[in-house]
Amino acid sequence: MNLDTTLERCLQQIEAGESIDGCLARYQDQADALAPMLAAAVQIRSHAEARLSQTQRLQAKATLRQTLAAQPSAAAVQKTARSRWALSLGGARRLVAIAAVAMLLVVVLSVGVVASSEPGNPAYAVRVIAERAPALVNRDSTVRAAVELTVAERRLADLQLHLQRAGRLEPAALRALLAGDAAAARQAASAGRVEQLRVAGRLATHARILHVLADRVEDPRSAQLLNEASRRTMALAMRLRAAPSSQPPGVQLPTNDMPAANRQPSPVSTATATPMATADPTATPTATATATQAATATVSATQPANATPSPAEALAPKPPVEPTQAEGIVPPRPPHPRQTALAQTATARSQTATARAATATARASRTPGPPGPRQTARAQTATARAQRATARAEAATALASRTPGPGPGQTALAQTATPNPDQSTATPTGPGAQATPTDPAASSHPPQPDSWLPRRPD
């Protein structure tokens, strides 16, 4: 029998009342090993009857009552715990609030820095991308074209500002301008015909302004880049004007209805000589054949087949591939004589207003030193009127081409579209002269240039 079993049996026997010696006598062979273990067990068991005396118990209970009385009440403990929790929670809330305010400050400052960035600033690229974001997320091509044009006009204003301050071109702004114009043309190509013409008009305005800037800038390299950009933008406008409409079949193209007498020379081919006078948006090809010829002539005149890429080509994004002008053109319908006459009148008046604007601009630019506020206002007003007249002429032409016979509303519209020669020749000096509230076409035009350069929109 092993020692563990013997020990267990001895413990049971001692518990039953047997003495240690009796157990050891029974297991004599293991007595030496068992004796101290049993003695220890019995010694410990001697404490089994130990009890606290009544006096000790009473003393202990009195001590416990005193301890309880000295202890804060349970409600107080719970309240303290709650207040600690509330304090820690309040601290956490404060931290979160501070972090939120700090983040808000960072965001606001970042937005401020980006929004106020100018060409040449590292944040300018972010601003360019951020301002184009609404156009990238919108699915409506008309809205996208409008946004792209607006953003492109901001780039034009940036370009002007940098030219005035630094005397040289900022390639980033020019690149962004050309990209915006190209994107607007791309979006307008899938929009309605009226939208195409509107975008084409604004692109032509951009081209004119770029050309004027090229004439003004002293740096030959910048002038070359601006001329190239002007040529490209005008080519975009021309292609858009001549592009087939995406409108449903049966909708007439206004440009095809223009009589042959109204045909104007290609704006791009003559832009180098007199940009303001010939870059008139009403100088629309009047027939399919004419449009094709004009576009071809433009390309051949300004970009020889074997010519190396100009610096502006390296800078500017590739213009969108436009469908050829001959594709998808609806056969022309004979215009109504009354509408045609009105359109002719509007075109002629628009040309007059444009010429006057050019004269005012040239006068302002001939004056030595910076142009005075009066001259600037004159040139600005004249340019605005020219653009409004151009828009009216476009609208009248579009109306004439869509309408086989004149209705009373159309006649009234065509009459309204005719610019008042007196207003065109007048030289208003107030800022209100730039916009005519009754002119619906004025609101769709780009912001007018400050003196001979585009005004930076807000």
Binding site: P36, I44, L52, T67
Partner: protein, 200 residues
């Protein structure tokens, strides 16, 4: 042997004790004071110190019961284990504080007239201290098994339930503890043959 505490008793008393009800504190004291006293007496070998520390265990219980989380599973044994841990910590503190303390007895200490025999008292005190010293050499599990089995007269199954161990593990702990205690106590007797001869 005191009746074993039930889970229902503990589930009823501990929350009241946490709310600071004196009646609940006294009820817990009545249930646990003698057990803890025996444990402390076994460890210390000094009845007065054991009684003092027993009171101190309940003082600490009052101070810390607010942070005690009552277990739904086996609450009586969990609470009991908590109280014995307090007692064990107090014993450690007791030995640490009295390690080098020497008690100076006056030369003219009068002998008690009608009390127990001073020699017998001294022998009993020394034996209890030897046992306490030997018990301190054990692990806490071995100590609790020995105290449960012999001071509390609990069965192996009861000790197993109290400590959350199997009966086999309790038996093994008990045998190892007794061997160690026997060896330590036999060594003490060999060092002091006179005392051994007197005691036998």
């Amino acid at each position: 042997m005191q009746p074993r505490l039930t889970d229902e008793q503990i589930l009823a008393l501990v929350p009241r004790c946490q709310r600071g009800e004196p009646a609940a504190v006294e009820a817990i004291y009545d249930l646990y004071s003698d057990r803890l006293y025996r444990y402390l007496l076994t460890r210390l070998g000094d009845p007065d110190a054991a009684a003092e520390l027993t009171t101190e265990v309940f003082v600490r219980m009052i101070q810390h019961i607010g942070s005690f989380k009552l277990s739904r599973k086996d609450p009586a044994n969990v609470f009991s284990g908590w109280l014995y841990r307090i007692a064990a910590n107090l014993v450690s503190d007791f030995y640490r504080s009295r390690k080098w303390q020497q008690v100076e007895l006056p030369d003219d200490l009068p002998a008690p007239v009608n009390g127990p025999d001073p020699y017998q008292q001294a022998v009993q005190h020394e034996t209890a201290q030897q046992l306490g010293t030997a018990l301190n050499q054990l692990s806490e599990d071995q100590r609790l098994v020995i105290v449960g089995r012999f001071a509390e007269e609990m069965s192996t199954a009861e000790v197993a339930a109290w400590l959350g161990k199997t009966e086999g593990a309790v038996k093994s702990l008990q045998h190892r503890a007794l061997r160690t205690l026997g060896r330590l106590l036999a060594l003490d007797k060999r060092r002091d043959p006179a005392a051994s001869g007197e005691s036998t």
